[in-house]
Structure formats: structure tokens, C-alpha cells
């Protein structure tokens, strides 16, 4: 059973088409990146999946069925526009929001203590939300999102406002959840995070599908015929190289159609050069993104 199946959804607001005939699916145990520039339609797509907006056309199934109260209890959603009851204590906020996901008070309290401990926030459990820093508030929101052990997680810009320490903490927890077989949808414009975490991606712009599929396959598709090398001494002339570009710490060699990276490596070794670094150049997701959207 697929965690999410979105089929040909379209949504317009007044004079703007926010989502235009979008289809994709997310499997169980997969970390899926929904990427695109600001205003591309990511949040609208998620709100349609969450049944907050009704699509003009198309269908969405979540965990094998149309979203209902029971499926809502099996998914965790961290919206981009998020917050908590400012006057409420941390533990009361978590337990109340967990109860709305069908978790009884006792289990919610026990699990909240466990997660607060895991995130190093146990000491703040009796503080009011308004006394917390923004980053701490974000961690509490993340705890609220996962406290009911959801099968599917939908996270809209989960790393915004987090410092590097908390970003790493969150990444670690997300990886654990994926390893437990949960499906995770990560919507963001921070390409490096997606590159690091996701298995598959959907890139959208102006509500339309730009790129969709396995991340490594997409990157391979965009791979140019060049290598990155760092050697001791002068590189000199290399057969089949049409151009050189010097970067900090390495040199990029552009190869002609007849030359493969393996031939270049064999050539360098045959010349007895000390090779510190040799890499087949693959464009970063950011470069692919800029190429497609920029």
C-alpha cells in the first residue's frame, strides 16, 4: 500500500493556478522531497493532501483511503505556519494535541516525557510555551507531530528557524523514523537537506511537475562529462580534455565525447602522479534546481 497517492490535482485561487495537474506517489519507508521555489505550490499541494483545501479536480489517497478521522490519527503534519498555545505548559500542550490524535492521556504523558528526554527538553516540560526560544518551540512542535507514532509524516519547511545543533538532531530523528518504515514527506526549498535525506523527489514550479523520481537517477541524468581532480604537482596536458576550470582545492576537467573518466584516471596513474582526489562531477540538486527553475 502506498503512503500517499496524488492523482492529477489542480487548484486555482481567484486569478492564479496554484497547482496544475500534479501527480505523484510516496511509498512506505521512503523519505520524499517536495521541492520548489517560494510560491511554487508546495504548501497548497500539502493543504490539499490534508483536506484543508478541496482540489478543483483530481484525487488524493492517504494510507490507502480518502483522508478521514481515522487516517488523520495515523499521520503527523508539521505545517509551515505553525505554533502552540502560548499560555499553556509544554507538557499540557503536547498531551492535549496528542489526545486530538486519539492517544489517551496516560500514554501521551509517558511518550511526551520520553521524547522530551530524547531531545534534551525534559527540564522545560513545565515551562509555558511563551517562555521558550523559537528553536525550542520548533522541537516541541516536532514532538507534537510524531507523538502518536504516525505512519506518514508531512513536514513543511521543518528546518526553518533551527540552529545547526537542532537541525542535526531533527535529521537524526527523521532518519530513525524512515528506518522504522514510516513514510516522510519533506517540503522545503533547502536543497542540501533534501540531497542529504531524501530517496526520491518531486520538483515543482508554478504548480507544475518539473522533475520527479529517484534522486540518484535524476542526478545521473544531469551529470555532465567532467571530472574533479586534485593532484600533487603540475597536471600538464591530458588527452581528451577540452577545457579546465580551477576551483578552490581542485580542478574540473571537461572531457570530449570519446573520453571517459576511467581513461583519464588511467592516464594520470600511468604518468605516476600522486592523486589526492578524483571524482566524476555530478551536479548538486541546487544546480539542477537553478538550471530548471532559475
Amino acid at each position: 500500500m502506498l503512503a500517499v497517492e496524488v492523482s492529477h490535482i489542480t487548484k486555482s485561487f481567484a486569478d492564479k493556478v496554484a497547482v496544475d495537474d500534479l501527480s505523484f506517489s510516496v511509498a512506505q519507508g521512503e523519505m520524499f522531497g517536495l521541492i520548489g521555489p517560494n510560491g511554487a505550490g508546495k504548501t497548497t499541494t500539502i493543504r490539499i493532501m490534508m483536506d484543508i483545501f478541496e482540489p478543483d479536480s483530481g484525487e488524493v489517497t492517504i494510507l490507502g483511503e480518502k483522508l478521514n478521522e481515522a487516517t488523520k490519527n495515523r499521520l503527523g503534519y508539521l505545517p509551515e505556519e505553525r505554533g502552540l498555545y502560548k499560555k499553556l505548559k509544554v507538557i499540557d500542550s503536547i498531551v492535549y494535541l496528542a489526545s486530538l490524535k486519539g492517544v489517551d492521556r496516560q500514554s501521551a504523558t509517558a511518550r511526551a516525557n520520553e521524547l522530551l528526554n530524547q531531545t534534551g527538553m525534559l527540564a522545560s516540560k513545565n515551562k509555558k510555551i511563551e517562555e521558550l526560544s523559537r528553536g525550542m518551540g520548533q522541537i516541541i512542535q516536532f514532538i507534537v507531530t510524531i507523538i502518536h507514532d504516525p505512519q506518514l509524516l508531512i513536514l513543511d519547511e521543518p528546518f526553518s528557524g533551527l540552529d545547526p545543533v537542532n537541525t542535526e538532531l531533527l535529521k537524526g530523528m527523521l532518519a530513525d523514523l524512515r528506518n522504522q518504515g514510516k513514510a516522510v514527506i519533506l517540503s522545503t526549498h533547502q536543497m542540501n537537506q533534501v540531497e542529504e535525506l531524501c530517496d526520491r523527489i518531486l520538483m515543482i514550479n508554478n504548480g507544475q511537475n518539473i522533475l520527479y523520481g529517484d534522486l540518484s537517477e535524476i542526478k545521473a541524468r544531469y551529470r555532465g562529462n567532467s571530472v574533479l581532480v586534485d593532484v600533487d604537482g603540475e597536471l600538464g596536458e591530458v588527452a581528451g580534455v577540452t577545457g579546465k576550470r580551477t576551483h578552490r582545492g581542485y580542478t574540473e576537467l571537461m572531457l570530449d565525447d570519446k573520453t571517459s573518466p576511467q581513461q583519464v584516471l588511467a592516464h594520470l596513474i600511468s604518468r605516476g602522479m600522486v592523486i589526492n582526489h578524483f571524482e566524476v562531477a555530478t551536479p548538486s540538486l541546487n544546480e539542477i534546481f537553478l538550471k530548471e527553475v532559475g
Binding site: 493543504r47 490534508m50 484543508i52 478521522e69 488523520k72 490519527n73 499521520l75 503527523g76 503534519y77 505545517p79 505556519e81 505553525r82 505554533g83 502552540l84 498555545y85 502560548k86 492535549y96 494535541l97 489526545s99 486530538l100 490524535k101 512542535q141 507534537v144
Partner: protein, 404 residues
């Protein structure tokens, strides 16, 4: 537990723990207790001592020399206006009047005083009138007749039912006091509930909680739980006030007595009080939900809600007008107009009662308004709940509500 019930429980407990709610709930009985206590402190068992006032008169007509004590007013005769003026200046008399020689034919009395007055104080004019009447009739009719002419009637009105029996409710100010106080409290409570609801929705919107909540519950569950939770809190407030009334009245009548003994509750008052609270609250809740949905901030929401929250007081502004013109058509309008209906009905129950058709029309219009406003509020809630920042233009709101 059902999710609507969870939201209901959360909102109810959250509302009754608010400082503002506790203060408003307790302040009414506490202020009444303080009032009764202060009255006890300042009042004594002895009747107040009233000083005798001496006023002078000059009798140029002749024959006005009896009945010179009228209540606490003592009349002293002077021979000439000059003597009376001297006594007035010396402070021997508070004022004086002259009965001219042709008084019996013209009826004019000239009064002289050092004080600037808008008109003659009623006690003085009554004392002079009774003094003149008594002297004119002295020796002509028996003293009892003179007394009866001075005080010709003590009007006792009895209200009968249509079957000719004495009605249990006799009307009068004693009948008005409880509905009036209750009307005021009801208005306060409706206004307070409105403030809580608009603030609650605004807070959730400002703290960006709505979307988190909507990932667990439907807009209908959220709205229903909130409205019922805050309504129950408002009902607790009204019940505390109503429950404290008999106790306070008992205490007041045993210490203050008099007027408080005449206080009675109009028939159906308690039932209609609760019914109108529930219906009035439902209407205000639906209006507030709509306002909360389209307003980007708590502040703007509260400014908008003031429009209808102030209308609830309109019948109270016109209350004195009701005592003078109880049958004015304005009252029918205020009884049927849904926003003013709860308070108008409470006030009218105490003063004249309400015709059955008016009550039926009032309830019907109120129920229909609740259904209509609730329908529009849920539409607005769905469309505007996730819109932050600027409030949409009215034209756009109306267009969106039409198209759904």
C-alpha cells in the same frame, strides 16, 4: 473520547480558569454583598431625626390662624411683610408668604425666599396648600373631611386574570428589578462570551495553531467544540449569578427590608432567561466565529465584534422609555430583532409581559438567524481561517460566501 468533546473540555476548562472570567463571575455577588454590608453599617435602627422648618406668613385676608403645624413645617404669623422680611434676613424663618386680602377671589399667594430655586419644593407647596385648605374649611366641615380633602385617595390596584381571579403577578417596580438586573448581566455575559470566542480564535490564528489543529480535527469539530465549551463557561457564569440572587434577596430583605420584600420573579422568567441565554449565546457565537475567521488579528476581530456586542445593550438604553411607553412599537421591533431580543424580552417580562405572538416571532427569528449566521460562519471559517495578514475586502468576502 470524541474529538468535539475533547475540544469542548479544553475550551471550557481554559475559559473558567481565566482571571477575567473568575473576576466577572464573582464580582456580581461580591459587589451585592458589599452593598448590603455598607447599607447595614451606615443605617441605624432609630428613625432619622428631621429638623423642624419654620416659615413665616402674613395674613392680610384674615382668618388663617389655625393648623400652623404641617408635618415638620411650623408656620409663624407676622403682622406686616416688613416684619416677615426682617425675620427672614435674621434667619428666624426659612422663608415667608403673604396671603393677600383678595386671596379668596384671586387665589394668588406671594412667596419670598433668600434661596435661588428652580421651583417651589413640593413639601413646602403641599404644606402651604394644606394650611390654606384647612383654614378655609375650618368650622365648616368636620376635621375628618378636611383630612380626606387633603389626601383624597390611596390607590390600591389589583390585577385580575381573565377568569376574574386575583393574578399571582401584580406588577409594579418590584417585578421589574430582577429582570432588569438579569438583563444587564445577560448583556455582560453575552459580551464576555463574544470577547472570549473572538480572542480564542484570534489567538489560535495569531499563534498559527489552526493548521496544526485541522490536521487532527475537522473545521466543524473545532468550531462546535469551541462554541459549546465557551457557551458552557458562560452558562456557568449566568447560573452562579442566578443562584446567588435568592440568597442575596433574602439577605437584602432581612437587613434593608421595605422594597426588597415586594420583589418577585415574573412567570416563566427562569425558563425564558435560560432559553434566551442559550439562543442569544448561539447567535453571538456564530457571529463571533465568522468575525474571528475573517479577522487577521485579535485586535481587529474585537473591533469588528464591538458592532454587535454594543447592540445588545440598546434595550437597556431605552429602559426608562419602556416604563413610560410600555406599548410603543419600538419594543416589538427590539423584541423581534435577533441581536436585541434576549435583553428586550427580559425587560418586558418584568414591566408588561409580552404577547404570545411576539414571543413566538422573536424565538422564530432568533432561531432562523442562528441557522443562517452559522451557515455563513462555517463557510467563512473554511475560506479565511488560514489567511493571515490583511483582512480581505468586504466585497471579496461576500463574493466568497456566495460562491462557497
Amino acid at each position: 473520547m470524541n474529538k468535539t468533546r475533547l475540544i469542548f473540555r479544553h475550551e471550557f476548562l481554559h475559559a473558567i480558569k481565566r482571571k477575567g472570567f473568575i473576576i466577572l463571575t464573582l464580582i456580581v455577588p461580591v459587589l451585592a454583598l458589599i452593598g448590603i454590608g455598607v447599607f447595614q453599617l451606615v443605617s441605624t435602627d432609630e428613625p432619622p431625626v428631621v429638623e423642624t422648618v419654620t416659615i413665616g406668613y402674613v395674613d392680610e385676608a384674615g382668618g388663617f390662624d389655625q393648623y400652623t403645624t404641617q408635618g415638620y413645617i411650623e408656620l409663624v404669623r407676622f403682622d406686616t411683610p416688613g416684619d416677615a422680611t426682617a425675620a427672614l434676613i435674621n434667619g428666624d424663618v426659612a422663608e415667608y408668604f403673604v396671603i393677600p386680602s383678595d386671596y379668596l377671589s384671586i387665589g394668588v399667594i406671594n412667596r419670598y425666599t433668600l434661596e435661588r430655586q428652580l421651583e417651589t419644593p413640593p413639601v413646602i407647596s403641599t404644606a402651604i396648600k394644606n394650611f390654606l385648605t384647612s383654614n378655609i374649611l375650618a368650622d365648616k366641615v368636620p376635621p375628618e373631611t378636611i383630612y380626606r380633602i387633603e389626601a383624597p385617595l390611596d390607590l390600591v390596584t389589583t390585577r385580575l386574570t381573565e377568569t376574574g381571579e386575583v393574578a399571582t403577578e401584580q406588577g409594579g417596580y418590584g417585578n421589574v428589578i430582577i429582570p432588569f438586573i438579569f438583563g444587564l448581566l445577560l448583556a455582560l455575559s453575552l459580551q464576555a462570551s463574544t470577547v472570549y470566542l473572538v480572542q480564542g480564535l484570534g489567538d489560535e490564528k495569531e499563534s498559527r495553531l489552526i493548521e496544526v489543529l485541522l490536521s487532527s480535527v475537522s473545521p466543524r469539530q473545532l468550531l462546535t467544540g469551541k462554541v459549546l465549551g465557551l457557551g458552557a463557561a458562560g452558562l456557568v457564569q449566568v447560573v452562579v449569578w442566578l443562584a446567588s440572587l435568592p440568597l442575596l434577596l433574602n439577605l437584602a430583605s432581612s437587613t434593608i427590608g421595605g422594597f426588597f420584600i415586594t420583589i418577585q420573579l415574573p412567570a416563566n422568567f427562569l425558563v425564558l432567561g435560560i432559553v434566551y441565554f442559550i439562543l442569544g449565546y448561539s447567535l453571538f457565537a456564530a457571529l463571533s466565529a465568522g468575525v474571528g475567521a475573517i479577522s487577521p488579528s485579535v485586535r481587529e476581530g474585537q473591533q469588528l465584534s464591538m458592532i454587535y456586542a454594543m447592540l445588545v445593550y440598546v434595550p437597556l438604553w431605552f429602559a426608562s422609555f419602556l416604563f413610560i411607553f410600555p406599548d410603543s412599537p419600538i419594543w416589538s421591533v427590539l423584541t423581534i430583532f435577533p441581536v436585541t431580543a434576549p435583553i428586550a424580552v427580559m425587560l418586558r417580562l418584568g414591566v408588561t409581559g409580552i404577547a404570545a405572538w411576539e414571543l413566538a416571532a422573536s424565538l422564530a427569528v432568533l432561531v432562523l438567524s442562528i441557522i443562517l449566521v452559522m451557515f455563513l460562519a462555517i463557510r467563512a471559517f473554511r475560506v479565511y481561517l488560514l489567511m493571515y495578514g490583511k483582512r480581505p475586502a468586504w466585497g471579496e468576502i461576500i463574493r466568497n460566501l456566495r460562491s462557497g
